[in-house]
Amino acid sequence: MSELLSANGVSKAFGGVQALDNCTLHVQKGSITGLIGPNGSGKTTLFNVMTGYVKPDSGAVTFEGNDITNARPNKVFAMGIGRTFQLTRIFARISVLENMLVATQRDESWLRGLTRSMSSTSELDAAMEWLDFVGIARLAQLPAGSLSYGQRKLLELAYVLVADPDVILLDEPAGGVNLTLINEIGEKIRTLNEAGKTFLIVEHNMEFVMSLCDSVTVMHQGSDLVTGTPSEVRSNPLVLDAYLGGSDDDDIIEEIAHG
């Protein structure tokens, strides 16, 4: 395996809060990498830095060996890094299918957008295929705002996939959805991974992370605490400490230790 995406010694402060403190993360090509940690440990900020939404104070982000630290989000996406958001963000007042088409252009010139129609036949086919893949093709013509929370999660996954990114960053794909759908999303991720897609996943559902990921990084107070296979991470006392110090949630400690 070779390294596809990495953050090296990234730091970022918001006012007096050190959200990221010399944090390093490596994502191997073809892997499913998990990123866990207590609330407020900087996982989402790291996502924002890696996808160009937030500029780090120091440190670098590299993708396929190129420095992308200060690239804008649209550039990052065009290079092949797709992401979803913790609170799903879809375009509520246009149709599900139109949501998909927004993402199909990748690095097309904006002037080209003026002279062409919304989609070509091949883009339309690809969009429908991916909607079918996540199981919401029958909703294609509905306004996206009428979808349920779970369906929005699926749509968000689908429209990231339609641009055919090399690596996909998922921010809590299993958050707030029911067990059946969690398993379904896990299955989709596995299928895509077998087809060659790389994943970086932030998730609080330990069972989901531990069963899916090849490698897990635990974050604590803005830096990477431990990196290893799920079983290594599970048995590492530092991880338990991090969760113990960070929250009183006994269930999570229980889950890490035995899940």
């Binding site: 958001f85 246009i94 927004v102 993402a103 990748r106 904006w110 957008g113 062409r116 641009a163 959805v177």
Partner: protein
């Protein structure tokens, strides 16, 4: 083959072409010209603000720029007072685009309320400049070359040029709505940061839309100046204009293709009619106040969306009679 929807457009155009044959009174023809001008402006305004959600309240800056371009160029190029002046109408549009680009570069960096306030502020910079600059003639106004046409048919050429501008504005708005570019504007309206993260080059897209909408508004300003023959800074750089075209779009249906057309046709014609009939320049404000209250209370999304939803509900009700309605459920 023409689809039914296209037939409606063709029919509407046919009616529009016939209107001046029925309205022979110059006063009414004048109303018709102004109505077309305002409808073109609100359609064009909506093409950017309605699609992108960036409510700009400074369109008067482009209207005034177009008007002064027509006035200054016709005078300094010694254009004789005849139909050749119409060639300056698109030049007025281009001047508005040239103004819109730097304005957009500043204003489009901020969003929502801040954007609204900035556009208003920039508008007043333009108004004050026109009032105080020497080359505009200041508050004394600016007289354009006299056009020696018969009073009876004076408005006729203006009517057809205004109609052509309106058709252009509608065609542009419709083709933008169907293009990838239009889709990007709609995506920006719903969630700009998410659109950016899906590869949409949001800033160039916004700026292009902003400048495109300025083009038609500038043309309308130029045509208006030529129609009036005399312009004043406070009437072509008019804050009421800014608000009017926005209200017309909201009245008809903000962000829809049809809404601003209906809003412009209904509101501007009734405003002008009331003003002419009762020779009272502010009577329409009372009517407008009541109308807007009604719209805000009962159909906040505008007439077009309200009607569409009412119709859809009616169809649903008719279709589902007898069925057991259990739309709820769904596991996710």
């Amino acid at each position: 083959m023409l689809r039914l929807r296209n037939l409606w457009w063709v029919a509407a155009l046919a009616v529009a072409l016939l209107v001046p044959q029925i309205l022979t009174n110059p006063a009414y023809r004048n109303i018709a010209v102004l109505t077309l001008i305002f409808t073109a402006c609100t359609t064009s305004w909506n093409m950017f603000s309605g699609y992108s959600g960036y409510v700009a309240l400074g369109a008067g800056a482009f209207y005034g720029t177009g008007a002064y371009t027509m006035a200054l160029l016709s005078k300094h190029l010694n254009v004789p007072g005849n139909g050749n002046m119409f060639w300056l109408v698109p030049v007025g549009g281009l001047a508005a685009v040239l103004v819109a680009i730097p304005v957009g570069l500043i204003a489009l960096r901020v969003r929502r309320h801040t954007f609204v306030v900035i556009t208003i502020a920039i508008f007043f910079v333009f108004q004050l400049s026109a009032i105080n600059a020497n080359f505009t003639g200041g508050t004394g106004g600016f007289t354009l070359p006299y056009i020696p046409w018969m009073i009876q048919d004076y408005q006729l050429p203006f009517y057809y040029v205004a109609l052509a501008i309106l058709v252009f504005a509608i065609a542009l708005s419709a083709s933008v709505r169907r293009s990838r570019f239009g889709l990007q504007l709609l995506a920006i309206r719903d969630d700009e940061d998410r659109a950016l993260g899906l590869g949409v080059k949001v800033f160039p897209v916004k700026l292009t839309g902003f400048a495109m909408s300025a083009f038609t508004i500038g043309m309308c300003g130029a045509l208006y100046a030529m129609l009036q023959g005399q312009i004043y800074p406070q009437f072509v750089f008019d804050p009421i204009f800014d608000i009017s075209i926005a209200l017309m779009a909201f009245f008809g249906g903000f962000g829809t293709l049809l809404g601003p057309i209906i809003g412009g046709l209904v509101l501007e014609s009734s405003q002008q009619y009331l003003t002419v009939t009762y020779s009272n320049g502010s009577l329409y404000l009372i009517l407008f106040g009541v109308l807007f209250l009604l719209v805000v209370l009962f159909m906040p999304q505008g007439i077009v969306v309200f009607t569409r939803e009412w119709w859809a509900k009616r169809q649903d009700r008719l279709a589902s009679t007898g069925e057991v309605a259990s739309v709820q459920g769904g596991n996710s």
